[in-house]
Symmetry: C2
């Protein structure tokens, strides 16, 4: 496995790979790799000949009061893990290599960021689409893969790819979870022992809400309150949002339409650690008695 | 020569060309071809193996009160002209092929549009960078060429390419002029016979200003007034802007520094027809007597 640190090197490398007719797969990450990332590699392997993983903690997607500085950076063990699952190249540029001091260009998707995480993280998704667009230009993948834990990110990137006719096939991978159900995240390492135990309630509450919906509950505020009580009872968890939204537009639903799908998305803070999770639920069609 | 009308066709075509190791050159145009466009083709020929010209009147870069509807569309004669100078493919998609109704993505360069044409055409350059970015994704050129008549556009595109690490070499071509000095433009066809004769004053006034500068005039408002009087005397021309700006940042100069360069840019309306022109002048260093 080889580490690529500059854009010029990357351009040369991918041009050679493409000229040889081999397909390139990109797994974009911010490092601090966990099993979720490795599953992304596993998933993309069947679609491509060469796997490039990018490891870049992207300052553009962090707000001024967020955890850019303390975000875990574990390149040595990341390299070992990536090699163990068959990654061919790691692209791990410095911030100064990626962004000149007078960087003035942004790739911006409108509307879709005005929901869920976009509301509490203004500018976050502009940072994401800009860096992903740049990574696509640098690494010219045929295929790229994103995890569905960041479901809003995945939807926004797919929209960008379609709108700008970027010739990259975007795959997504269902959320990979710990044995107790907690969604894998590099930020889980921030959790205290107590909070780690409490955090399991995120996934449990999603399943609880799913149960309500599939057994016929249609009252949105009732479902949201149930999730809220489930998560916050007996601990210091602080709800950022609990939203039931359209799976494509991400707009808040005003009713649950039988036969359609609903995306239940939540963000919860344990102390300074903000975790997200989500579940898509198909709303059953009930026999209506006349 | 072949006409390509869909993005899917284009993706297939350019992938084949690239796999064969041939270099692709892109000449982006809005059609209504004139000798300036043909010179772009001439210039790019030495750098590439295959020349693709795009012909697309891009609605995103026209304001609501601008000339999108009446912009000249002359595809048949454009095709003949392009073929005569050795263009290999013309990419000429419909608007509906380029933009889905719910297109939400923009590529935005900040600061540089806050000068010159950007002030009287809000949103214009966002439309330009978005379509150029999309054309690059569709046609994957190794080299692309832009005319220096649209000097602000050329500077903004070069900035976008650098900021987003787009692997395209951007060339620019000096302004191509009619025999009397008028900068070639598809919009010249709008001019009445009288206005056509008056329009020559744009280039003449730029040369007049250059003469002032190289003979030692340092007073910016005096130079600007001279250009204004030169153009508007004896006709109905209306000045949009006359600006002396930094050649890189496009910021209005507050003084003329000896040894540096100044970009003199002007936009003038004859009736409904808005024309632009520009000239870069090196400010001489004078011997200073103590």
């Amino acid at each position: 496995m080889e580490l690529i640190r500059t854009i010029a090197e990357a351009h040369d490398l991918v041009e050679k790979i493409r000229l040889s007719g081999r397909l390139i797969g990109l797994v974009p990450t911010m490092g601090a790799l966990h099993r979720g990332h490795l599953m992304l590699v596993d998933e993309i392997r069947d679609h491509v000949d060469v796997i490039i993983m990018s490891i870049f903690v992207n300052p553009l997607q962090f707000g001024p009061n967020e955890d850019f500085e303390r975000y875990p950076r574990t390149l040595d063990s990341d390299v070992e893990l990536a090699e163990s699952v068959g990654v061919d190249y790691i692209f791990c540029p410095d911030v100064s290599e990626m962004y000149a001091r007078n960087m003035k260009t942004r790739v911006v998707v409108s509307d879709l960021p005005d929901h869920l995480c976009g509301l509490s993280r203004p500018g976050h998704f502009d940072g994401v689409t800009t860096v992903v667009s740049k990574l696509f230009n640098i690494l010219k993948p045929h295929v790229a893969i994103f995890g569905q834990k960041d479901v809003q990110q995945a939807i926004i990137i797919q929209k960008m790819v379609k709108d700008l006719s970027i010739d990259v096939k975007v795959l997504t991978l269902p959320i990979v979870r710990e044995v107790d159900g907690l969604a894998m995240s590099s930020r889980n390492s921030y959790l205290s022992e107590t909070d780690r135990l409490e955090a399991v309630k995120l996934f449990q509450s999603l399943n609880f809400a799913k149960q309500m919906i599939v057994t016929g509950e249609h009252d949105l505020s009732l479902i949201i309150n149930a999730i809220k009580n489930f998560i916050t009872t007996g601990n210091s968890a602080e709800i950022d949002y609990i939203s039931l939204v359209d799976t494509e537009t991400l707009e808040e639903l005003t009713e649950l339409k039988e036969g359609s799908s609903v995306l239940i998305a939540i963000a919860v803070k344990f102390g300074k650690t903000r975790l997200i999770d989500n579940l898509t639920v198909k709303i059953p069609v009930f026999e209506h008695v006349e």
